[in-house]
């Protein structure tokens, strides 16, 4: 049932939410955009982190490279968004491919550290590159969009479509031949290779998709904030959210990052307005520590445990019957 209904439900959701952008206060569109951005980042992170078992601490680097691809293109020729988004996907996909080759020599915590270093190297490059504004940053002037309530609403609708596409791709991977191979790699890479799984090829697919998806999430960011400088593009919260959202939702399935992003993203946007914009990071931190310590498999894990407990007594009865029957 769930398998068949993903795309119809998404289509209805897309049409409904798009229609809503004409009626609601623009604040909700802006907040919604931030949640969707987190959702794409979390879904991308989880393809490598959750499905394949390689932790990426450098998400902000991929995100910012996507954003700076937009800045470069805007400064050079100001192409339409349907050119900018694929371009960012390609650039960041290539960076992901490069990161994939790192997995040949670096596993576990060493890979994580390398991705962190990758982001810092990229940030240093951007700070010292005058063409994209260097440390002072670059402005982007957004055009009018006649059909939409505002330019932000226009970006929100695109982001919504991209988010649905990203989740759809992650969901497909989760249930595909590739996904089963990735799970084997996550469980035991040596055993997977000996079971016939082409581990390097699958890891490269995984890192490339992750990179491209993060690049896509970053590509619209300059148009959304209209001013990009390295500190905001390589923001710590982007990297932390990309890890925290899947961890809180649950990393084993495509739905985990979606749950985590909607929950954590909404809480953050709510706090930003109602309490303090500085409290954001603290909330993420506390939630992350809480989940890692108390529910390491996230909300999905809690739900599975709860369902298992509900079914528990029945299963035991079945188990008792079997030896008697045999």
């Amino acid at each position: 049932m769930r398998v068949a209904s993903f795309w119809p439900v998404s289509a209805v959701l897309f049409v409904g939410v798009t229609a809503a952008t004409f009626f609601v206060n623009e604040y909700y569109v802006v907040a919604g955009y931030m949640v969707l951005q987190g959702l794409i980042m979390a879904t991308a992170w989880n393809i490598l982190g959750g499905f394949t078992g390689y932790v990426n601490f450098g998400s902000a680097g991929f995100f910012a490279l996507g954003a700076y691809t937009s800045v470069v293109l805007y400064t050079a020729i100001d192409p339409p968004l349907w050119v900018v988004i694929p371009a960012a996907a390609i650039v960041c996909g290539l960076l992901g491919l490069g990161a994939g080759y790192l997995t040949l020599r670096l596993r576990g915590v060493y890979f994580a550290i390398a991705t962190l270093a990758l982001a810092i190297v990229l940030e240093t490059l951007m700070v010292n590159w005058d063409y994209v504004g260097g440390a002072t940053g670059a402005f982007i002037i957004t055009p009018d969009v006649p059909l939409f309530a505002s330019y932000n609403a226009f970006l929100f609708v695109i982001m919504l479509a991209l988010a649905i596409g990203s989740v759809g791709l992650a969901r497909y991977l989760n249930h595909s031949r590739i996904g089963r191979g990735l799970t084997a790699i996550r469980d035991d890479e040596v055993a997977a290779e000996c079971a016939g799984v082409p581990t390097l090829r699958l890891k490269l697919i995984s890192t490339t998709i992750m990179g491209a998806m993060m690049g896509i999430a970053g590509s619209l960011y300059p148009y959304f904030v209209t001013f990009v400088e390295p500190l905001s593009a390589f923001n710590l919260i982007v990297a932390v959210n990309a890890i925290a959202m899947p961890m809180i939702g649950g990393t084993s399935s495509w739905i985990g990052p979606v749950i985590g992003a909607l929950l954590l993203g909404s809480v953050q946007e709510w706090t930003k307005v109602n309490i303090s914009s500085e409290l954001n990071l603290l909330i993420v931190g506390v939630l992350l520590v809480g989940f890692v310590a108390l529910a390491p498999r996230g909300i999905l894990g809690l739900a599975q445990d709860f369902r298992a407990r509900l079914r528990g007594p029945q299963k035991k009865e079945q188990g008792d019957d079997e030896p008697a029957a045999a």
């Binding site: 191979g181 084997a184 035991d188 055993a191 997977a192 079971a195 016939g196 581990t199 084993s252």
Partner: protein, 242 residues
């Protein structure tokens, strides 16, 4: 004996820094043969099977499988060609059930495209053969030691190999359990699979193998039938000293 051997290892050498793990070792395994590889700790047995299965690449010499030089091929390519191995320390895919563990090689190690239902059915056949069918839906991370060993063998069999390398599948098991695993290996061998057994449980190797090669300090010191090996003074010296 004019047919080509299943596996032909020619003059294999492997160094780790200044340490010579294997020094110009040659051995061959015939199709369907039960072959024993023994030697004291550190003699190079595990290095040898790592070179055969592709986890390590030898510096000198050749590994020829079914007439094809496979030196330099990756492990998954060798699995595809028909070399499967079990691990000394069991390495189950811990997040999967026992049956799902088998579905990975069933899906990846062969060329044929199969449906999930076909793979599960085939996996169940292998589990029945190996005596794990009643645990098919259990999580593989929580199995007992002997069941882990069985799972290792079952997963290797699921790759449909012509050559199965059993790396100390019996270490640490009780006498009855050793006999059980040994029985399973005979069953697999009866289906035409050549088996290389690396083992410290001498009773098992002697009972199982048709031919044995003994390694000591990276060199081949003896080759022959179990009876010849037992009465070989060089072997005695390697194991017990002078």
């Amino acid at each position: 004996m004019m047919s080509q051997p299943l596996l032909d290892v020619q003059g294999l050498s492997k160094h780790f820094g200044g340490f010579t793990a294997l020094d110009n070792v040659s051995l061959h395994v015939e199709p369907g043969e039960r072959f024993g590889l023994i030697g004291p700790n550190g003699s190079g047995k595990t290095t040898m099977i790592n070179c055969i299965s592709g986890a390590l690449i030898n510096e000198a010499g050749k590994v020829v499988f079914q007439g094809r030089d496979i030196t330099g091929l990756k492990p998954h390519q060798r699995t595809h060609l028909g070399i499967a191995r079990s691990f000394q320390l069991p390495r189950p895919f811990a997040s999967m059930t026992v049956l799902e563990n088998l579905c990975i090689p069933l899906e990846y190690a062969t060329d044929s495209r199969t449906t999930m239902a076909e793979r599960r059915a085939e996996g169940m056949q292998i589990l029945e053969l190996i005596g794990l069918a009643d645990k098919a839906e259990e999580h593989s991370g929580g199995l007992t030691q002997i069941d882990m060993r069985k799972l290792e063998l079952a997963r290797a069999m699921a790759a449909k190999p012509d050559l199965l390398i059993s790396d100390e599948a019996m270490a640490g098991l009780s006498g009855a359990e050793v006999n059980e695993i040994l029985g399973r290996l005979f069953t697999l061998n009866e289906r035409g699979v050549g088996v290389i057994m690396i083992e410290h449980v001498m009773k098992a190797v002697m009972q199982f193998s048709q031919r044995i090669v003994v390694l000591d300090a990276g060199k081949k010191i003896a080759e022959g039938t179990p009876d010849e090996i037992v009465s070989n003074p060089l072997v005695e010296k390697a194991y017990l000293g002078e």
